[in-house]
Symmetry: C2
Subunit: 154 residues, 2 copies
């Protein structure tokens, strides 16, 4: 395996990026809901008709999963990531529909060395998932632990 490309030192507060280009597949979206979030508005056009919005929309957890996929593809798998302690917040701001084309806008909001574990640092990101109309459908703030280049992680 080659060394990962991104380590703690590669993320500085204020850094921004845009990436991802993922078209929401209707059947994959529904299959996710059948397995993990079987609420009527996520299951079929017909079942959704009497729901609040009256139309088939993605589970918010599916949107979160798609963001994770886009993060993995763009940088996470090619990094010294040591996992995440958790998520600071998730806002589901607008519906995601089958056929939507999603991209990510990310910003580094904080980066700090760990005091207790000098081999790593923690980076906080704000991720906006944006649809083809420029609407932010989900905002997520979360932290990722990275190995440090100066501690020999790369």
């Amino acid at each position: 395996m080659p060394n990962p490309r991104y380590a703690f030192e590669d993320f500085a507060p204020g850094d921004t990026a845009e990436y991802g280009d993922l078209v929401v597949d209707r059947d994959d979206m529904v299959a996710f809901a059948e397995e993990y979030d079987p609420q009527p508005m996520h299951l079929s056009e017909q079942a959704a008709r009497s729901s609040m919005l009256g139309e088939l929309i993605a589970s918010g957890w599916y949107t979160a999963a798609l963001l994770m996929r886009m993060n993995c593809d763009r940088w996470l798998v090619d990094s010294t990531s040591m996992g995440s302690p958790g998520v600071d917040s998730v806002e589901w701001r607008a519906p995601v529909r089958a056929g939507d084309r999603l991209t990510v806008r990310s910003e580094v909001v904080a980066a700090r060395a760990s005091r207790s574990r000098p081999e790593m640092g923690v980076v906080s990101f704000a991720f906006d998932v944006v649809n083809q109309d420029g609407v932010v459908v989900m905002r997520q703030v979360n932290a990722v632990m990275f190995g440090r280049r100066d501690a020999g992680a790369v």
Copy 2:
């Protein structure tokens, strides 16, 4: 369709419940990771060997999806839920492994009528996902919007 069983009025701060009984299926856990979170520690025993924990563990998003499933099965699908504005926090506290038996402990932390929308109220929950050893593997705090019984939702 019969009327849903649970409405806004059925949730009061301090209410607790325990439910769910779900054994983590190794292949389902890996299939989720292949699709949405293809980091080595989630993909196979072998790929995980050189990761931080050295063993195959679930994606945190998979654990979140399993919590959603247990919530749907126990009460969410049989309620006046109008969806969720988002999640206040997620903490992934301990690894989830194939074969783990997971349950949920929930607590209502707040319940307030909506000022702008008298037909609904918002309930905040704290959910602990607990494994067979009594270890809290994930804590999540999030809000759900419910139709009100006294506004004719049921």
